[in-house]
């Protein structure tokens, strides 16, 4: 059980990225080598300029000076060609990592136990899949190449200074302690501020979505102003963090400027001394000054994009944290259920320790029989239904299908064996046919039509603008609650599982739609061992067996007629239901 999705630390992220890079290593390293070669060529620039200075001082003829011009052109050509090819190769490797991570995160989202995902927060998961992933892909496409170039340029420039004159290079290094101090200071302070900023932005988005979805309620209760104030407070909070980040980054730049001044002054003073001692020429001094000046830009780029780099690191950690979550181990010897008899042995459950919502339950459902689960709200019906469907792991006890405990089925077999229809009537984005084929990949159109017909949906589907090819879901044609539930039942028919669990699938459709859906469910269930959570007792009436739950215990069991005769809990529920319907 996980309470919240983890965030990977730096070490874990590094390991994960190296592991993902394993197939692309030649490409990535080759690309890197080309970039290094291209940047190394560019280092000739200031050296040539220094040489020109010396030629001028020596009053050489113009032709000698002009001769160096093609050298500068060649330098530019080599640099351009090599860095372009190199960075394209590096980017291709990076994009593969991004794609692998993207699929891995969704894979965890869909394959981890659903109850874990909901406990840890679907909102958090969505933020990671959308915002963090988008930050990561920007990092791969833009940030990493920029930082790579900047970092290499700094290293190579320092290298060139060493080749020019080691004493000057040593002088240039005078800036290093200050720069290192600045980076250390930044790493200590900025990362947590960065996290807080993302957190604040996330809360702000959550508050916003809540206000949009609840706008009608806010209007109805005249609380629009307090909703606005709440949002404004979150918005101000995120603004405050952004300003803190800006403050930190300018302080950081200030420290870098200090380092630059120190280095530049040292190089100039050293040049002065060395030129006076005739140890170097004025040309060399000029080249050194130009080299050092050329360091400013990459330094500022490298360290100036710390804001984005830190953000990318945080996002990467959040993505890898999910991508590396261990999947539930598959059973060692996966078996296939023999038949579709459903047995529940000693199943109990508690969400919070010491507060059991389900006391040991014993239940057997004959193959092909339909059992209705009846009871007051909070009696534990949904909990039992989700446990039987294999979506929730019980605190104790076992559920078996065809004699095989659910825990010994691998996930694919489980998915083909039990289908759970929940209250969440989600319609997937895409065409109606694509939505249906999620339950039956590659199913023929005629099969889709047949399934829709079974649940009484073919009529309205034919009436849609493009029939089965109509775009539905977010941004598409909006289906009514009843239609969405009919679609869910059609998916059930297509998935064709031996066992079906229906949980409150009719609740949100309103009372008129509920009857229509009951008819659809009756058409979808024959031949399957089914468990129906019944709100409307008419659903229970037609069941082969009715199981009455009260306070997490099975209190009665039997057919409609038997239970009425017993004059117990069910008879009481039925009386309440029938009394309201009695024609006086």
């Amino acid at each position: 059980m996980i309470d919240s999705f983890p965030v990977a630390g730096a070490a874990q992220s590094r390991r994960a990225i190296l592991w993902l890079l394993r197939d692309d290593r030649p490409r990535a390293l080759g690309g890197l080598a080309l970039v290094v070669a291209g940047l190394a060529a560019s280092m000739l620039g200031p050296w040539v300029l220094g040489h020109i200075v010396d030629l001028v001082i020596a009053h050489s003829p113009i032709s000698t000076i002009a001769w160096w011009c093609p050298v500068l052109l060649a330098v530019a050509l080599v640099q351009g060609a090599f860095t372009a090819t190199g960075s394209a190769l590096v980017a291709a490797a990076g994009e593969r990592i991004a794609a692998l991570l993207r699929e891995s995160v969704l894979g965890r989202a869909l394959r981890l136990p659903q109850t874990d995902v909901e406990q840890a927060g679907r909102g958090d998961l969505l933020t990671r899949l959308n915002e963090d992933m988008s930050i990561l892909s920007t990092a791969v496409g833009e940030l990493v190449p920029t930082l790579l170039t900047a970092g290499l340029t700094i290293l190579l420039t320092l290298g060139s200074l060493v080749l020019l004159d080691w004493r000057l290079a040593l002088g240039a290094l005078a800036c290093l302690p200050l720069q290192a101090f600045a980076v250390r200071w930044l790493l200590r302070t900025a990362l947590s501020v960065q996290r807080s900023m993302r957190q604040a932005a996330s809360l702000r988005s959550q508050e916003f979505v809540e206000s949009v979805d609840g706008a009608d309620v806010a209007r109805a209760f005249g609380i629009t102003e307090s909703r606005e104030r709440r949002f404004a407070a979150h918005s101000r909070d995120s603004m405050r963090w952004s300003l803190r980040i800006s403050l930190l980054s300018t302080k950081f730049f200030g420290k870098l400027n200090g380092g630059e001044l120190l280095g530049l002054a040292t190089v100039l003073v050293l040049s002065f001394v060395l030129v006076r001692a005739d140890a170097i020429t004025i040309g060399t001094a000029s080249a050194a000054a130009l080299y050092f000046h050329r360091l400013f830009d990459p330094f500022n780029t490298l360290l100036g994009q710390f804001h984005d780099a830190q953000g990318a690191l945080v996002a990467t950690g959040r993505i890898i944290g999910v991508a590396e979550l261990p999947l539930p181990s598959a059973p060692v010897n996966p078996v296939h259920p023999r038949g579709s008899e459903l047995t529940v042995r000693g199943v109990w459950h508690e969400y919070q320790p010491g507060r059991p919502v389900l006391h040991p339950v014993e239940l057997t459902v004959r193959p092909g029989a339909k059992v209705a689960l009846v009871g007051a709200s909070g009696a534990g019906k949904t909990t039992l239904a989700t446990i039987i469907a294999g979506v929730r792991e019980p605190s104790g006890g076992t559920v078996s299908i065809g004699g095989v405990p659910l825990s010994e089925l691998d996930s694919a077999t489980l998915a083909h064996t039990v289908t759970l229809l929940s209250q969440e009537g989600h319609v997937f984005h895409g065409t109606l046919a694509e939505d249906l084929r999620l339950a039956a990949p590659g199913a023929e159109q005629s099969l889709l039509h047949k399934a829709l017909d079974t649940v009484g949906a073919l009529g309205w589907v034919r009436g849609l603008p493009s029939g089965l090819d109509t775009l539905v879901g977010e941004g598409g044609w909006q289906l009514t609650v009843t239609q969405a539930q009919q679609l869910a039942l059609a998916r059930l028919v297509l998935a064709d599982p031996p066992v079906a669990v229906l949980d409150e699938a009719t609740a949100d459709a309103g009372s008129a739609g509920a009857r229509e859906l009951e008819r659809a469910a009756d058409a979808a269930l024959p031949g399957r061992t089914s468990l129906v959570v019944a709100h409307r007792l008419t659903q229970a009436m037609t069941a082969d067996e009715i199981v009455v739950l009260a306070d997490g215990r099975i209190v009665e069991q039997g057919s409609h007629a038997e239970l009425l005769e017993r004059q117990g809990e069910y008879a009481r529920l039925w009386a309440a239901w029938a009394a309201a319907r009695a024609t006086r």
Partner: protein, 579 residues
């Protein structure tokens, strides 16, 4: 503002305090007015930011000039005094540079964030506007992207202007220095650079196309992933996980292909850029060298000129990219303006009822429904859309095409919306809860002493008893921690707690079992005794507690009477309610 606090605000810009609520964007709301609004709002930061960023850019540009001077005046002649003087000048220059950078950047960020905050709050205010929005309007996803991305995007206009002004500042300094060194060299650099930039801008088009294609596929991938996560229960329920992942793999690979193509185009462009920059600098160096050789410029001036030529690339690119930067901000302004200017669904009224008795007359086309003050009426609509329309008209989510609804004889369209909704409370069957405690949710509008009676009437006491902190338990993610039936009962308790003169409930018990529903029916009857109550439902439990039931069909009242009468006399009614 005192001078000291003004200076403090300049160096360390602050967040506006909670008393400061943003002014509305003046009418008509267009991208232009949104941008003007944002400029006016951030004018202080814009002015300070532009001045100081220009100073910063100018100082950066001056660094190679000082380098040239050090070589010419100190190193070449070997003059130690000059060395000390010029190093001191360099230090001073850096002090100016770094202080200007701090103030400029901080004010720039404050400008963007201030605009972003104000527009975000205005967007939420628009979403929550009592007059509602015409039509379905953009979904919460699209609106979210407008608030989180575009609100700050408009601020980029301020930032764009700040950067352009500062680039122009740097350019002027550099041009003056270059031309004073040598007119031909200065002209070559000042005319050559824009030409080179124009050429690169030409080539940027195809690259931008590939980048756009890449962004589109990336957005598609994230939309698809989000869709699967939102439908997680549905997906795992039908065993569609593997098929979904297979489809996502396909989308993800498409996205990767587009990203690799886009990166290759970008790399090619950058490579070409490097080559052209190199060519340009080589020619500049050659000209400088020849001029120095002819004694027309000094050695230090070669360093200055070459240094300046490369230092100017930044400011020139900013100016060349200005149009695109501002265009991006304008696109954001357009989206913000569209969202803010969504036409309201209804108009605000002015009337303020003194005290509401609660008599309701619905007189729309052929539908005439008169509800006496204190009466309870059940409304059965076989067509769900009829119920929705009536509820929308009663809450003035929209107005009927003709006819009127009167409260105590007064057309509800003439009443102030806030007063109307205080008088007529309408609660939908799927009304969401807000995150916050149970108490805050139930007492959204009711007085504290309504908490217990409302919870009791909605049969919600056992829910509260089962929560770890009772009524002070925090509800998370719009009540996802509760079951559907629990959420529905708390929403009902909220509607009852507000105790409006007229309460309109739509299917308040669809997710509740029959026994609890019967308790709720009794609870509603006791709680609403003597006050006008309309129940839109086909639940016999609820219909049996009202004084009168009306069956609405084909835009009129098809039948009316008590639940018992209709059950006996109306076969249609029996079909709808009792089967």
């Amino acid at each position: 503002m005192t001078p000291t606090s003004a200076l403090a605000a300049l160096v360390r810009p602050r967040v506006p305090d909670e008393r400061h609520s943003p002014e509305p964007v003046p009418d008509p709301v267009t991208p232009g007015t949104v941008i003007r609004y944002s400029l006016r709002l951030g004018r202080r930061q814009l002015i300070a930011g532009s001045l100081f960023t220009a100073l910063h850019q100018g100082a950066e540009t001056a660094v190679p000039i000082v380098l040239g001077e050090v070589i010419d005046r100190a190193i070449a002649p070997g003059d130690p005094v000059a060395l000390i003087v010029w190093i001191a000048v360099l230090a001073l220059l850096f002090l100016v540079l770094t202080s200007a950078m701090r103030i400029g950047l901080r004010n720039g960020t404050r400008g963007i964030e201030g605009t972003g905050h104000a527009l975000r709050v205005l967007l939420v205010r628009r979403v929550l506007d009592p007059r509602g929005a015409e039509g379905a309007g953009p979904g919460s996803g699209a609106l979210l992207s407008t608030t989180s991305v575009d609100a700050a995007g408009v601020g980029m206009y301020n930032s764009g202007i700040r950067r352009i002004l500062s680039a122009v500042g740097a350019l002027i300094v550099a041009a003056a220095v270059l031309l004073s060194i040598s007119v031909p060299l200065g002209l070559f650099i000042l005319l050559g650079l824009p030409l080179w930039l124009l050429l690169m801008r030409r080539l940027a088009g195809p690259v931008a196309n590939r980048v756009r294609a890449q962004r589109a596929t990336a957005a598609q991938a994230s939309q698809q992933a989000a869709d699967y996560v939102r439908g997680l229960r549905t997906l795992t329920g039908i065993g569609g996980t593997e098929e979904a992942l297979r489809r996502f793999h396909h989308t993800s690979e498409q996205s990767r292909g587009a990203a690799v193509r886009s990166a290759a185009a970008q790399a090619g462009y950058d490579g070409l850029n490097t080559v052209l920059t190199g060519v340009f600098l080589a020619v500049a160096a050659l000209i400088a060298g020849i001029l120095a050789d002819q004694g027309k410029i000094s050695i230090g001036q070669i360093v200055t000129a070459v240094g300046l030529a490369s230092a100017l690339i930044g400011p020139f690119s900013i100016i060349a990219g200005a149009a695109r930067l501002l265009a991006g901000a304008r696109v954001s302004a357009q989206r913000v303006a569209d969202a803010l200017a969504t036409p309201p669904a209804v108009t605000e009224g002015a009337g303020r009822p003194a005290s509401v008795v609660g008599a309701l007359d619905v007189d729309i086309a052929s539908l005439r429904l008169n509800v006496a003050a204190g009466e309870s009426v059940g409304v059965v609509c076989p067509e769900p859309t009829d119920a929705i329309a009536l509820l929308n008209w009663l809450s003035r989510k929209e107005d009927p095409p003709s006819g009127a609804i009167r409260l105590d004889g007064v057309d509800i369209r003439t009443l102030r919306l806030a007063d109307l909704r205080e008088a007529i409370g309408v609660s939908a069957h799927d009304a969401p809860l807000f995150s916050g405690t149970v108490r805050d949710n139930v007492l959204a509008h009711g007085p504290a002493d309504r908490l217990d009676p409302a919870l009791r009437a909605a049969a919600a006491e056992d829910i509260v008893a089962g929560l770890p902190d009772g009524v002070d338990t925090e509800i998370t993610e719009r009540g996802r921690s509760l079951s559907g039936g629990q959420r529905q009962r708390l929403a009902l308790a909220r509607a009852l707690a507000a105790a409006p003169a007229v309460l309109v409930l739509h299917d308040p018990t669809t997710a509740v079992d029959a026994a609890t529903e019967a308790r709720i029916a009794d609870g509603i009857r006791a709680d609403r005794a003597g006050r006008t109550t309309l129940l839109f439902t086909s639940s016999p439990n609820l219909l049996s507690i009202v004084d009168r039931v009306v069956l609405v069909r084909d835009g009129g009242i098809h039948a009316e009477g008590t639940h018992a009468d209709l059950s006996n006399a109306e076969p249609d009614y029996r079909d709808l309610v009792l089967t």
